[in-house]
Amino acid sequence: MTRSTTRKAPLGVVLGTGLALAACSGAIAQERPALTVAVNELARSLDPGEHTGNVDIRIYYSIFDTLIRRDFAKPKADGGANLVPGLAESWSWTTPTTFDLKLRRGVTCHDGSPFDANDVLATFSPDRLWGPKAYYPEGRVYFGNFTQVEKLDDFTVRITVAQHDPIIEHRLSSYMSFAICDEPWNAFRKEGVDSKVWMDQAAKALRWKPVGTGPYSFVDYQKNDKVTLAAFDRYFGGKPAAKTITFRSVPEVAARVAGLVAGDFDIAVELPPDQWDGLKGYKDVSVKTEPLENSHVLQFNTNDPVLSDKKLRHAMSLSIDRKALIDALWKGQTYTPNGHQLPSFGPMYVKDNKGYAYDPALAKKLLAESSYKGQEISYRLIPNYYLYNVEAAQVIQEMWRNVGINARIDFVDSFKEVRKPGAQVFAWSNTYRVPDPSGAILTLWGPDSENQKTWKLYGASPAFNDAASELTAETDEAKRRATFARLLTAFEDDMPMTMLYNPVTGYGVKKGIEWTPYSQYYMDFRPSNFSLGAK
């Protein structure tokens, strides 16, 4: 942390000018320290519509806000996601298909323009996010149900949907929902020019010149080197604690650790578990870990001639000792979700769902009853695509061998290769993009998912697909939860995948920095989650 220093001056000069300087708010800004964060890789761009990868969101989370914000630091008492006002002060359903948002007044964009309904219209325009030919096609995954976004007045916006969406608040607080400011974006709009054409120009111009309303504004980008942000003192959530934040690209773990200890960096990200104990030996560094809202899973091709036997798939799942994996690989710092769900699902969380058990005796019994005759099963993975996926595969291979399952690890270099004909078992990850079944299991495994429709790796049972269709149509919370419980049971019975664990991300943080990591890769440097005390 590099604090600004002041030169020694004669006492009279100090006394004579001290009061005047103290009264100047600029002086306060000067005294704030600069923060340096060592990251494994810089963002691919700072356009919140273009990329939602971990390397991207950790940086642009400081530049942009969402209408509704998820307060990761303070989840609800039951562990559910806590939604709080962001750029919108309040929101409500006015009819089953119209959702009104009252916008916060007095918010300023980084270009100095006031934030209002026009910025929301620019962000959620059909041409940009949710129409049939949206410029950012991923927007349709979240907002494909929208039919209209209109301005009722300067600070009121109405969203109309085709079908009532009980989790629209969650969607408006998740990926793809970061609000851009309309003036720099619409400056590229030309009458009579196709929206894809002018939006392409706008996106190109703004991907490294983003304009949002967040606590830090963009200053500079040097490829492979750094992204620099500066405190935006007109931020509606209060004055940011650091004068600047520099995200410096340091791909080597050893160099991130060394730089942190040597004082070159204040925070280092993506520190794997084998570095944690070593870092804890330094008094001026603390290690913060957080299990992510992402699960490492093993997918089974239910349409494969060998794996189509459900008993074999259950035996494979039952013979994996997940606690042993977690203790060995993740130092016991994470958990295996009890089913394809998380506590952050809140009212939808099925607490008593059993999930994926470890029972080698039952695995052997099921194996004996199955049609499996000891054939070699291919276990495909892209080496090191996920942290410790190779080590986990080698351990699981031995666990399977112990119950009589013969697996061969096949290294491939892309998911195209992973899923090409002959796929039997492979490593994958599932992200809970919205804390609800519709943001996770339905998207990745439901009747319209690529798994069922395109890749044809999951031949779902009618029980699962019926429950999925019911869940999509249902809006009553209690009925949704009951349907979800049924869906989970059917999913676990179908066994198209088994859960391993949620990976953990580790941060090294210098003493004196009050900052809490979240269960998603967002790095939140808002005043509510970031302050600087004494070193």
Partner: protein, 310 residues
């Protein structure tokens, strides 16, 4: 070098560059889908199709190749897939940093390597010779990533004397330059020693000694210029290797140069950028070889004579 010979070598160089362009294009396209690296492991097919169309990757491979090669012929190396900026612009921004690191390391390696090689040759089979050669073998064979991390652990982590990453100040240059320079020094020392030993046993050096020529003059004036051909050959090869050699060192020390750019481009399968860097590297190699040939002719009259006879 006579004009015809130069033109022949130039044509060979151009053929080499074309082969590299083609092989790189084929190898990268066989290695996987760049869009997958861009959009992640859970992207819907609709999103993947959108980006494939946007970057022209939905066209047949031969069409992509033709448009790429014709682009290069017009000086257009294409847009970086991940950055959306011209590949050549990104390389131009990173190159000065690579050259600063590479040339510093090169000069360090040259001075240290040639100096130590001469000392070792003059003290053949003595303790100092064995010591220098041990250093040379170690410097040559120690992987850069290992030496780099070792230096970080010692000088940044343990003694906290030098910064471990970046290239903001001259202090940031020391550890990566020493890492890369040690490798160069090891190579140069070995070649200088063997070249000097060969020359020192020649009759004209013995004659100079018999005539009472002082040792420094004998070594620097009579022996070293005659030992220069193999040394210049290896210098030429290593000079062309500056960018390639910096790949590991730039990654370990987080220097945002061309080496890092290449590593990132390969990881993200950024075709245009990988191709542009490889073409640039191959051109550097070809030019370095041409320069070495030209220098041979300048410093060794026998070669001029032999070539003009042939």
């Amino acid at each position: 070098m006579p004009g015809r010979l130069f033109l022949t070598k130039l044509a060979r160089g151009l053929l080499t560059v074309w082969l590299i362009v083609t092989l790189t294009f084929v190898a990268l396209n066989l290695s996987g889908d760049p869009i997958e690296a861009l959009v992640g492991d859970q992207a819907p097919a609709e999103v993947i199709a959108h980006y494939r169309e946007k970057f022209g990757l939905d066209r047949p491979l031969w069409q992509q190749y033709v448009s790429y090669v014709s682009g290069i012929a017009q000086g257009d190396f294409g847009l970086s897939l991940s950055d959306q900026r011209p590949a050549i612009e990104l390389i131009a921004a990173a190159l000065p940093r690579t050259l600063r690191l590479g040339l510093t390391a090169f000069v360090l390696g040259l001075l240290l390597g040639v100096g130590l090689g001469i000392v070792a040759a003059l003290n053949r089979n003595r303790a100092i010779d064995r010591f220098v050669m041990s250093f040379a073998v170690l410097g040559f064979s120690l992987p850069n990533f290992f030496l780099g991390i070792l230096l970080i652990l010692l000088f940044s982590l343990h003694w906290r004397l030098l910064p471990s990453s970046g290239d903001q100040t001259i202090w940031h240059l020391i550890l990566p330059a020493v890492t890369l320079g040690t490798h160069f020094a090891g190579t140069f020392a070995r070649f200088t020693r063997s070249a000097m030993l060969e020359v020192l046993s020649k009759q004209y050096v013995v004659a100079a000694r018999a005539k009472g020529v002082p040792r420094p003059r004998r070594v620097l004036w009579h022996a070293l210029p005659n030992a220069a051909i193999p040394i210049i050959t290896i210098i030429g090869l290593k000079l062309g290797d500056l960018v390639a050699g910096s790949i590991i060192v730039e990654t370990v020390f987080a220097v945002p140069g061309v080496g890092r750019l290449l590593v990132n481009a390969v990881t993200s399968r950024d075709f245009a950028l990988v191709q542009a860097i490889l073409i640039m590297t191959s051109i550097t190699m070809v030019l370095a070889n041409l320069a070495v040939d030209a220098i041979y002719a300048l410093i060794d009259p026998r070669m001029r004579a032999a070539r003009s006879e042939s």
